[in-house]
C-alpha cells in the first residue's frame, strides 16, 4: 500500500472542516471527527489502579533480589572544595560492607554540596550509611556563591573554569538549544525576537516595567531516584530503574560500562513520579548508574541504590529560578511591545530559560524580545521540569499584562483576546470566561477592594503554549493475537503515572472490537521493544499510533484467516459485536477464529510515521501544532494575616482527541495542583553563607496537601488535529503552565497591587500591602525583603 490521500473531518469541534490529508504507506486511516469509537474516549478506570491502591504494584524501591546489597553515597558537605585525599580503607572493614568506591579522586574539584564523593555497598542499608562515616576525606574549601544575584557580580567566585556542556534530555522542549559563551558566571541563551522591542517600547503610550521573581522548585517525586543493578555476565546486565525513560537508562548504562545496548535490559514496572528529572542512568547531579554498576561488579552481587529525601532535593535536579525584568507597553490600547531580560540559575547546570510564553502566545504584539541567561552557582544542577521554563515565563508575562491592563484601565481578559490569535485558545478564553463567571467575579473583586474588606477575593487568567512533539519511528509496537483469543500489546514504554497502559489497552479493544478484559499490555521493559521517554508531553501521541497500526495489521491478517474460514473474499469480511467476523453468509466468533490461527499467534509490529498534518492549519507561536490552554483562578486573601488560599481553578485545555477523560482529568488535576503549590508555597532555600539547602525534606520544603488544593474544574475543547492516526496530542506539560500565573493575577485582582515574587506567602502579601514596619524594602514591590537572604536575587 503506497502513500494515499484521504479526506478527513478535522479541527476544533464546532469549527470542523474537510481536509485532504496525505497518508504514508501502511498508515491506518486517522480517527477524525466522524469516527465512531466505543472504547477510546470513554472513562475507563486505570487497569492497574487496583494494584496501586492495594499496594501490590511493585516499584523500583520494592525490588528485592537474592543476595542484593544496599548502596549509600557519601556526598560533599561543601559547596565548593578540592579533594585533597580520600581514604576508604576503614570503611571497607565495617560490618556488612562488601564494596567501597571512591567516586571523586584527589585533585577533583567539587562544585556543590551534595556532589558524589564515595559510595559503599553493604548487606543492610544502615550498614552502608554507617560505613560512609568511616571514609576519610580531606577537602580544601574554596570560595562559593549560591545566590543568583551574587553570582552575577563581577568579583563572584567563578563556578566553571571551562565551557559547560549542555545536558538535554527528552524532558526538555525540542527546539532552540545551546547558548553563547559564558562571561563570568553568566551564559546567554539563544535570544528570541520579532519586530523591534526597543523601538516598539519607545512608540508606546503606556509602558509598565517591573521585575518578576520565581524560586527554585524541586521535583520531589514521591519515589526518589534510584536503581537496582544486576550483572548477568561480564557483558550484560539487568537494571530496575525508577525512570521516565527506560531506553535512556539502557543507553547510558551501555555507554558507561562499554556494553552493547541490547545486552542491557531495563525494567520499570511501576514508577512513583518523575516530572522531568528521571532520564538516563544518572540523576542530574549524581552518577547513580555508574556507582550502582561499579559497586555491583566489585561486590559480585546485585546492588540497590535509592536516594533518600535529602539527596532527592540536592542532587537530582530542580526547576531553575528566574528574575525577569519585563518592559511591556501598549499603543492605542493594544499590546505593542514586550522586552524580557531574564537571569536564572540551574546551579552548576544549564537550562534557566523562561519558555516561549512571552513570544508565542500574544502573537498580535508586533515587537517582542526575550533574552534569557543561565547564571552558574554552586548549587545542584537544574534539569527539565514539567514544561521547562514555561511556568516561570508565564508568571512574568501574564502578571505584567495584568499590571499593564490596570494602567490602561482595560480588563486583562480583553487585552489577551485582542493580543492572541490562536483560534483554539481564543475560543477557550471566551468559553472559559463564561463558565467561570469572569465578568461578575471581576466586579465583585473591585467592590471588595473599594470597601477595604478584610477578606478579599480576586480572579485571574493565564494561558499556556506547548507544541505537539509526537515522535515518528521512536516507538515500535508489537501485537500478538493468541490462539485463546487474548490480545497482547507489547511496547517498552514506562507508565510515569499518566495512565498510558490503560490507554493502550483501549486502543487494542477499540481496533479489535473486543472487551478490555481480553487485552493485555506488556510494558515497562526494554525487552518489549523501543519506545519514547515520558517527557515533552509526547508519550500518548508517539505510542498510541504505533500500537494502532500494529493492531490494524494484525486484524488484517485475521481478516485473511476469517475469509478462509468463511469461504469468502477478504474484502467481504465485516467485523461485528465482540469481534465476530461475518462474510459469505456465515459468521465466526472471535474466539473460534483465533483457534484457527496457524501456530501460536498472529504477530504484527508497527511504528508511527512523521506527523502528517494539522488542523487548525494556523497555529501561531511555533513550528508544530500549538496545543492551547487557559486557566482561570480564584483566590481569597486575608489582608490581616496575608494568607492566600486558591479556592477555584477552571482549566480549559486542548489535547487533541481525548483518549480517556478519567486519566486526562487526573493529569490536569496534577498539573493544577503542582502549579498551585508553585504559586503559594514551594521554594528551595539555600543559606548563602553556608551554601547548604535548609529545607531538604518534605516538611519545610512545602508541597500543597489536600486542604491546599482548589476546587478544580476541567473543561476540554476537543480538537481533531489529523496529526496522527489516533489524534492524540499532549497534555502533561500544558496543564501546569498557566496555574501559578493565573493565581498571581488573581492576587493582583484581589489586592489591587501585585506580588511579583513566587511563592506568594503571607510575608510577601503583607509587604505588598505596606504592613511591614521598618525601612521599606529596596527596589520593586516584590518583597524579596521578606527573606533577606532567601536566595532570590
Amino acid at each position: 500500500m503506497a502513500e494515499r490521500k484521504e479526506t478527513l473531518n478535522l479541527g476544533l469541534v464546532g469549527q470542523l472542516r474537510k481536509v485532504r490529508v496525505t497518508l504514508p504507506e501502511g498508515e491506518a486511516r486517522p480517527w477524525d471527527a466522524d469516527a465512531t469509537l466505543t472504547v477510546v474516549g470513554t472513562p475507563v478506570p486505570r487497569i492497574d489502579g487496583h494494584l496501586k491502591a492495594s499496594g501490590r504494584a511493585k516499584y523500583t524501591f520494592d525490588v528485592a533480589l537474592p543476595g542484593m546489597l544496599w548502596a549509600a553515597v557519601l556526598r560533599s558537605p561543601h559547596p565548593a572544595a578540592r579533594v585533597v585525599s580520600i581514604d576508604t580503607s576503614a570503611a571497607s572493614k565495617r560490618p556488612g560492607v562488601k564494596a567501597v568506591l571512591a567516586v571523586a579522586k584527589p585533585g577533583d574539584v567539587l562544585l556543590f554540596a551534595g556532589q558524589d564523593v564515595a559510595a559503599v555497598a553493604a548487606e543492610r542499608p544502615e550498614q552502608a550509611r554507617d560505613a560512609l562515616a568511616h571514609i576519610a576525606v580531606e577537602y580544601e574549601r574554596r570560595p562559593f556563591v549560591v545566590d543568583t544575584v551574587g553570582a552575577v557580580k563581577p568579583k563572584a567566585p567563578l563556578v566553571h573554569r571551562a565551557a559547560v556542556e549542555e545536558r538535554r534530555t527528552e524532558g526538555d522542549e525540542p527546539g532552540a538549544a545551546g547558548g553563547g559563551k559564558a562571561s563570568g558566571n553568566v551564559r546567554p541563551l539563544p535570544q528570541s525576537a520579532r519586530g523591534d522591542a526597543v523601538k516598539g517600547l519607545a512608540q508606546c503610550d503606556v509602558v509598565h516595567e517591573a521585575t518578576y521573581v520565581t524560586p527554585v522548585q524541586t521535583h520531589s517525586a514521591l519515589e526518589t531516584h534510584g536503581l537496582v543493578v544486576r550483572w548477568d555476565g561480564p557483558k550484560a546486565m539487568t537494571v530496575w530503574a525508577s525512570t521516565q525513560g527506560i531506553f535512556s537508562v539502557r543507553d547510558e548504562m551501555a555507554e558507561i560500562f562499554g556494553l552493547r545496548a541490547q545486552d542491557v535490559r531495563v525494567i520499570t514496572e511501576f514508577m512513583g513520579g518523575g516530572f522531568g528529572a528521571k532520564f538516563g542512568a544518572s540523576a542530574p547531579g549524581s552518577r547513580l548508574g555508574f556507582i550502582a554498576g561499579e559497586l555491583s561488579r566489585a561486590a559480585k552481587a546485585p546492588v540497590k541504590l535509592m536516594c533518600d529525601r535529602h539527596e532527592e532535593h540536592v542532587c537530582t535536579g530542580n526547576r531553575p529560578d528566574s528574575r525577569q525584568a519585563v518592559k511591556i507597553g501598549a499603543k492605542a490600547g493594544k499590546l505593542h511591545a514586550i522586552d524580557v531580560e531574564a537571569y536564572g540559575t540551574a546551579g552548576v547546570g544549564t537550562g534557566a530559560g523562561v519558555g516561549r510564553n512571552a513570544i508565542g502566545i500574544y502573537t498580535r504584539c508586533p515587537n517582542v524580545r526575550v533574552r534569557a541567561h543561565d547564571v552558574f552557582t554552586h548549587g545542584g544542577p537544574g534539569t527539565a521540569m514539567r514544561a521547562p521554563g514555561h511556568p516561570q515565563g508565564a508568571f512574568a508575562i501574564e502578571l505584567a499584562i495584568d499590571e499593564l491592563g490596570a494602567k490602561l484601565g482595560v480588563d486583562p481578559l480583553q487585552l489577551r483576546l485582542a493580543s492572541d490569535e490562536h483560534p483554539v485558545r481564543l475560543e477557550q478564553f471566551r468559553k472559559g470566561a463564561e463558565r467561570f463567571g469572569w465578568a461578575e467575579l471581576r466586579t465583585r473583586s473591585a467592590a471588595l477592594r473599594q470597601r477595604g474588606a478584610r477578606v478579599r477575593r480576586g480572579v485571574g487568567v493565564a494561558a499556556s503554549i506547548w507544541g505537539d512533539f509526537g515522535r515518528a519511528n521512536a516507538a515500535v509496537a508489537t501485537v500478538s493475537v493468541l490462539r485463546d483469543g487474548t490480545i497482547e500489546l507489547a511496547n517498552g514504554v514506562q507508565d510515569i503515572g499518566g495512565g498510558i497502559v490503560t490507554v493502550l489497552a483501549q486502543i487494542g479493544a477499540e481496533v479489535f472490537g473486543r472487551p478490555l478484559s481480553t487485552v493485555r499490555v506488556r510494558f515497562g521493559d526494554s525487552a518489549h521493544g523501543p519506545s519514547v521517554g515520558s517527557g515533552g508531553s509526547q508519550t500518548t501521541s508517539s505510542v498510541t499510533p504505533a500500537v494502532r497500526n500494529a493492531c490494524e495489521k494484525a486484524r488484517a491478517a485475521l481478516a485473511q484467516l476469517a475469509a478462509k474460514q468463511l469461504r469468502c473474499a477478504v474484502e467481504e469480511v465485516r467485523w461485528g459485536e465482540e469481534g465476530v467476523a461475518r462474510g459469505g453468509g456465515g459468521s465466526i466468533t472471535f474466539t473460534q477464529l483465533c483457534k484457527k490461527i496457524d501456530g501460536e499467534a498472529i504477530v504484527a509490529t508497527a511504528t508511527r510515521p512523521e506527523t502528517y498534518g494539522h488542523e487548525p492549519m494556523a497555529f501561531p507561536g511555533g513550528k508544530q501544532y500549538q496545543i492551547a490552554g487557559v486557566q482561570f483562578a480564584e483566590v481569597e486573601v486575608d489582608t490581616w494575616t496575608g494568607l492566600v488560599r486558591a479556592t477555584r481553578v477552571l482549566a480549559v485545555h486542548d489535547c487533541g482527541r481525548v483518549m480517556n477523560p478519567l486519566t486526562l482529568r487526573s493529569q490536569v488535576n496534577g498539573g493544577v495542583i503542582l502549579g498551585t503549590s508553585y504559586a503559594l508555597m514551594e521554594e528551595r532555600v539555600l543559606d548563602p553563607d553556608l551554601g547548604r539547602m535548609l529545607n531538604a525534606n518534605l516538611e519545610s520544603y512545602k508541597i500543597a496537601g489536600a486542604r491546599d488544593v482548589p476546587e478544580i474544574e476541567v473543561m476540554l475543547t476537543e480538537v481533531h488535529p489529523g496529526a496522527n492516526n489516533t489524534g492524540a496530542v499532549g497534555i502533561g506539560e500544558p496543564a501546569t503552565i498557566p496555574t501559578a500565573a493565573a493565581i498571581a493575577c488573581a492576587v493582583h485582582d484581589a489586592l489591587g497591587t501585585a506580588v511579583r515574587s513566587l511563592p506568594i506567602t503571607p510575608a510577601k502579601v503583607l509587604a505588598a500591602l505596606g504592613k511591614i514596619p521598618g525601612p521599606p524594602a529596596a527596589g520593586d514591590a516584590s518583597p524579596a525583603s521578606a527573606s533577606p537572604k532567601g536566595g532570590t536575587p
Partner: protein, 336 residues
C-alpha cells in the same frame, strides 16, 4: 537510623530508673519527634523505654482525662492530640486547647502524638535540624538563624537563640493558666505553672524545658473554667495540610457586665518559649469588647517585638491573627 531496643517496663519508677541508669536510653511516648531526630541522625539512642508500657493506676492516669472534685481537669501526658481535639473531651471554656490539638500536624500524627511529647518536643529550626550544621543549640558558638534565613524564627524574646517553640498546645495552655505535674526521682511529684516549664535562651540556649534527666511529665492540670469562660485558638500556616504555624494565638476571657475579665493571651511560634502577651492582656482587661480595642491590644502584644531583618512580617501577621482570635473568643463578628 541505627538499631535500637525497645524496653517495656510496667511502672513509672522502673522506667525512670532505666533511663537514668545509662547513656543512650530515652523515654518514648508517641515517638513523633524522637523518631524524627533518629531519622535525621541527630540522636542515636540504644534503648527506647516505652511509656505506653506503664500499666495499672499509673497507666490510667497517664492516659486519662479526668475532672477533679473542684472542677479542674487533669489531662494525662499520654493523652493523644486526637483525643484532645475530639470536641467531647473538653468543656466549652477550654475550647482553645481542643482547637490547638486539632490544628497540629496530620490525623495520623495526632493519633500517636501525646500531650507530653508535644510540650517537650525540640524546635523545628532548620539549622538545628540539619545534621551537618553545629548551631548554638547543638553546642556551637552562634545561632545560625540570626544571620541566616530566619523567616520562621522569633520576633519576641529572641537571643542568643532565635528558635520558636514548636508546641501548639503550649500557647493554649498558657492562655488557660494550666499547670504541669512532674514526677521527680524518688517518686516525688511536683507541680509548676506551664510558663515555668519552659527555658528561654538567655538561661540555657541548648534546652527548651526545665525537666532534669529522670524526670517525667505526668499530666497537665487545667483550672476549672469560670462561669461564662470562653477561649479560642488559631494559627496561620503557609500550607493548610500539615505545616508548622507561622504564628499562633490563644485567648481566654469571660464577659461580665459587658466588660472583658480574666483575659489571658498566649502566642505561639513567635518566641523561643510559648509567649504570654501581658501587654495585650492589660489593654483588654476590664474593657468593652470592640474591634478597635482588639486592634489596639494586638499592637500592644507586639510592642516588645524585635524582629530580625527577615521576619518583620510576623509582626503584622500575629497582630492580624490575634485580632481574629479575639473576635472569635469574645463573639464579636469579624468585619467582612
Amino acid at each position: 537510623m541505627n538499631r535500637f531496643s525497645i524496653v517495656r517496663l510496667p511502672t513509672l519508677e522502673a522506667a525512670a530508673a532505666r533511663v537514668a541508669g545509662g547513656d543512650g536510653r530515652v523515654l518514648r511516648a508517641g515517638g513523633i519527634d524522637l523518631i524524627d531526630h533518629m531519622k535525621e541522625g541527630l540522636v542515636a539512642p540504644d534503648e527506647l523505654v516505652e511509656l505506653h508500657a506503664v500499666g495499672g493506676d499509673e497507666g490510667r492516669l497517664l492516659r486519662g482525662v479526668e475532672t477533679e472534685g473542684d472542677g479542674s481537669l487533669r489531662v494525662g501526658a499520654l493523652v493523644t492530640l486526637a483525643q484532645l481535639a475530639d470536641a467531647s473531651t473538653l468543656p466549652a471554656g477550654l475550647r482553645a486547647l481542643g482547637q490547638a490539638a486539632g490544628q497540629a500536624a496530620t490525623p495520623g500524627i495526632r493519633n500517636a502524638a501525646t500531650v507530653g511529647g508535644n510540650l517537650l518536643q525540640r524546635p523545628r529550626c532548620w539549622y538545628y535540624r540539619h545534621v551537618d550544621l553545629v548551631c548554638l543549640k547543638k553546642g556551637g558558638d552562634m545561632c545560625l538563624a540570626q544571620t541566616g534565613d530566619h523567616r520562621y524564627h522569633a520576633i519576641l524574646g529572641g537571643g542568643p537563640s532565635y528558635i520558636v517553640h514548636a508546641s501548639s498546645l503550649a500557647s493554649a495552655l498558657c492562655a488557660l493558666d494550666a499547670r504541669v505535674q512532674v514526677l521527680s526521682p524518688g517518686n516525688k511529684a511536683r507541680e509548676l505553672p506551664i510558663e515555668q516549664l519552659f527555658v528561654g535562651p538567655t538561661v540555657d540556649p541548648t534546652r527548651e524545658h526545665v525537666l532534669q534527666p529522670g524526670e517525667i511529665l505526668l499530666a497537665v492540670h487545667l483550672p476549672a473554667p469560670a462561669a461564662g469562660q470562653r477561649s479560642a485558638y488559631a494559627a496561620v500556616q503557609e500550607k493548610q495540610s500539615q505545616d508548622w504555624p507561622l504564628a499562633e494565638a490563644s485567648v481566654r476571657l469571660r464577659i461580665d457586665g459587658g466588660r472583658l475579665r480574666d483575659v489571658r493571651v498566649g502566642l505561639g511560634h513567635v518566641a523561643p518559649v510559648p509567649w504570654r502577651a501581658r501587654e495585650a492582656e492589660a489593654v483588654l482587661e476590664g474593657q468593652a469588647p470592640t474591634a478597635e480595642l482588639f486592634a489596639r491590644a494586638a499592637e500592644a502584644a507586639t510592642s516588645p517585638a524585635k524582629p530580625l531583618p527577615g521576619n518583620a512580617y510576623k509582626v503584622p501577621l500575629v497582630q492580624g491573627l490575634l485580632r481574629e482570635v479575639l473576635h472569635d473568643a469574645a463573639g464579636v463578628p469579624l468585619p467582612e
